[in-house]
């Protein structure tokens, strides 16, 4: 039933997709994290227009399909700006913007969960708001929300497979291409599945390691 012999020569081709997937996921994660922190700060801050914007942003990006957002950026935006966007930057932008919405909610909840006394202590010492957030509140919030954040990035890693629809040559797309050229789909898709699974295990392990480091103060 299984016959890997036809697919084996294509394995290196599929493996090359790891680089593409990683490139998209790593940059989208950075965009998502930075954007998420900024949006979360807008949401908990006292400036009303920023708060409204951040909440509107989140509702839009959580309320529409990711694949729609991806297609809008890759296919529809060039219609206005007159030049094409390459698949990989388009994917990084789409995943980053989308992830930012989810991450902002996680971080907002994390900040709110930090004891209010921490802010009071910092204020009583004369610590300015920005420094208080950066040095006192966010590090404590991050520690509590690390498992949720890791979960978000693991999801992002797997969801990145939908870049297939805009033709970026990631793991998924390559497996699909190999399937089409050898007329055997099961084997390359299985290989792709194993690769994603191993990547997830590595991410999980990384998360646990960071978590352990952050628990030093307990």
């Amino acid at each position: 039933m299984f016959d890997f012999s036809k697919v084996v020569p294509s394995i290196p081709y599929i493996l090359q997709g790891i680089g593409v997937t990683l490139q998209i996921v790593i940059f989208a994660t950075i965009v998502g994290l930075v954007l998420g922190i900024l949006l979360a700060l807008c949401k908990i801050g006292s400036i009303k227009p920023l708060k409204w914007f951040a909440e509107f942003y989140t509702s839009i990006f959580r309320g529409t399909p990711l694949v729609l957002q991806l297609m809008l950026i890759y296919y529809a935006i060039p219609q206005f700006i007159g030049t094409n966007i390459d698949p990989i930057p388009a994917a990084i932008i789409a995943f980053g913007l989308n992830s930012g919405a989810y991450v902002s909610e996680i971080i907002r909840a994390g900040i709110n969960a930090v004891d209010k006394g921490q802010q009071e202590a910092a204020r009583a010492l004369g610590v300015p708001y920005a420094k208080m957030m950066k040095d006192i509140i966010l590090p404590q919030a991050m520690k509590n929300i690390l498992p949720s954040l890791m979960n978000e990035f693991i999801t992002l890693n797997k969801e990145s497979a939908i870049v297939t629809v805009i033709g970026a040559l990631d793991i998924m797309r390559r497996a699909y291409v190999v399937g089409g050229s050898t007329f055997r789909y099961f084997e390359p898709l299985l290989i792709a599945g194993v690769i994603y699974y191993i990547m997830t295990l590595v991410l999980t392990f990384l998360g646990r390691t960071i978590e352990k480091r952050m628990r030093r103060s307990d």
């Binding site: 009071e120 202590a121 009583a124 010492l125 004369g126 300015p128 103060s217």
Partner: protein, 238 residues
């Protein structure tokens, strides 16, 4: 040193402070006492603007506290909380040097020297590299006092500093506060420790129902309170 004029504070429709005026001189140790809900903590928290007063003026030194200069004024007002509020992700030493370095901009070396000296004073030098979670309540509060002192404040505010402590740890914290009072620090202490107030304070402010009902020396207040409310309160707690 500190002048408070007609201080009022409401939370929604609930008026907690109904016009308090008093003056606190340099090196004076003030104990603020009164039944719970009398506005003692709110009074203290209004002084360094952790609560924004509804009306009234507070002057520290020659400076009238406003929205704009409050950050600068806070550097001179050390505050100690009932629940310590140490930064749990920082070691004891890091707790002490954070604000001097980041607010006053002094060097790490200088901040560390000051911190080490303060930790010796409160008897916790050997805990300087521990995280707060590994300390007892009394030790945490002594670190919190040292953290406030590290900013070299001119006034120390204490908000029920021993109320969250196990009985056997109250003494060590009061001892630190007493030696601080003896060193000439201006202190405003909200407390339920009547014995301590009587022994250490120069003046007692008795608050009830949002009013400053009595302002007297400890001897006057504890042996012959003037108001019925103070008599009633002392009957209950002594």
């Amino acid at each position: 040193m500190i002048k408070i004029e007609n201080l009022k504070k409401s939370f929604g429709n609930n008026e907690v402070l109904k016009g308090i005026s008093t003056e606190i001189k340099e090196k004076e140790v003030i104990a603020v006492i009164g039944p719970s809900g009398s506005g003692k903590s709110t009074f203290l928290r209004c002084i360094n603007r952790l609560e924004e007063p509804t009306s009234g003026d507070i002057t520290v030194g020659d400076t009238l506290i406003t929205e704009k200069n409050v950050m600068k004024v806070r550097e001179n007002l050390g505050m100690v909380f009932q629940h310590f509020h140490l930064f749990p992700h920082k070691t004891v030493l890091e707790n002490l040097i954070y604000a001097p370095m980041n607010v006053k901009g002094i060097s790490k070396q200088e901040a560390t020297e000051i911190a080490d000296e303060l930790l010796r004073k409160v008897g916790l030098y050997e805990k300087r590299d521990e995280y707060p979670n590994r300390l007892s309540g009394g030790q945490k509060q002594r670190v919190a006092i040292a953290r406030a002192l590290a900013m070299n404040p001119t006034v120390m505010l204490f908000d029920e500093p021993t109320s969250a402590l196990d009985p056997e740890m109250v003494k060590e914290v009061l001892a630190v506060m007493k030696s601080l009072a003896e060193s000439g620090m201006t202190m405003i202490i909200v407390t339920h420790e009547m014995g301590f107030a009587r022994e250490v304070a120069d003046r007692i402010l008795f608050l009830d129902g949002g009013y400053l009902v009595e302002d007297a020396t400890p001897d006057e207040f504890f042996s012959s309170p003037k108001s019925a409310r103070a008599k009633d309160f002392l009957d209950k707690v002594l």
